[in-house]
């Protein structure tokens, strides 16, 4: 992927994510449910591996860190991605650097190693299993 395409995608998705968090935050403040964007959840009724991320992020913003872990531990990664990447990209564009692009290429190379990818996917899969067990009231 070219640097230009990556920066456009990261900036667009990062800012859209931030707007979505603000919208969800306001909805949840009023005790209303935010619009469900999860296609998998809408089709099957089951939570997907990253369902609950927004609830988790809102819990982190409220300082309720234990609740955030219960909602979805991926919320911690989500809030880091959304709060750092758009500004990192903007800083790169402003100063004419490409540190984010180099970081992306490094992460991409790392993830092409089978054991790294398998480890990441296993963690996500395990979290999903726990989420599904919780969903079916197994504990």
């Amino acid at each position: 992927m070219t640097r230009k395409n990556l920066y456009f995608l990261a900036l667009f998705l990062g800012l859209a994510g931030q707007l979505w968090i603000v919208y969800s935050y306001k909805k949840l403040e009023k005790q209303e449910e935010a619009f469900n964007t999860c296609i998998f959840n809408r089709l099957t009724g089951l939570p997907c591996p990253s369902c609950g991320t927004i609830h988790s992020i809102v819990s982190i913003i409220h300082g309720n860190f234990r609740q955030a872990l219960t909602d979805n531990p991926l919320g911690y990664i989500g809030i880091l991605i959304v709060s750092i990447i758009p500004y990192w990209v903007l800083a790169d564009l402003a100063f004419g650097k490409e540190s984010f692009y180099r970081f992306f290429l490094l992460a991409d190379r790392m993830l092409k190693r089978r054991w790294v990818l398998a480890s990441v996917l296993s963690i996500v899969f395990l979290l999903w299993i726990v989420k599904l067990l919780h969903f079916f009231h197994c504990f």
Partner: protein
């Protein structure tokens, strides 16, 4: 490589590449040694239309990105619920072009 073989390759494989890259691919093929012909023929390419179908069905989990080899973006898509659903939809429009790009990169690596 002779022009007949290069044209045959272009005719059978044009759908795997961006249309504006076809003349450059032909030129490169003509400059390539004959001994590479078998390797070029046996190279497998991702089908852009198939990738679009995969993107529609499994794009939410980043499966489309994993298949074309964009591991970083695949993991990011998986962790963010398909970019909160937005990225899933954006990728329906980007994935075919990206697949063709990946196919071209693969061929370029072989041709040198």
């Amino acid at each position: 490589m002779d022009a007949q073989k290069a044209d045959m390759f272009i005719m059978t494989h044009a759908k795997f590449f961006e249309p504006h890259l076809i003349p450059a691919i032909r030129e490169k093929l003509l400059q390539t040694d004959e001994s590479k012909w078998m390797t070029i023929q046996s190279l497998t390419y991702r089908e852009p239309v198939l990738m679009l179908i995969i993107s529609i069905l499994g794009g939410h989990f980043g499966i489309d990105r994993f298949i074309i080899g964009d591991m970083g973006l695949g993991v990011a898509k998986l962790l963010t619920c398909g970019g909160l659903g937005i990225w899933t939809i954006v990728d329906w429009f980007l994935i075919m072009e990206r697949t063709r790009e990946v196919n071209f990169e693969k061929l370029r690596m072989l041709l040198g």
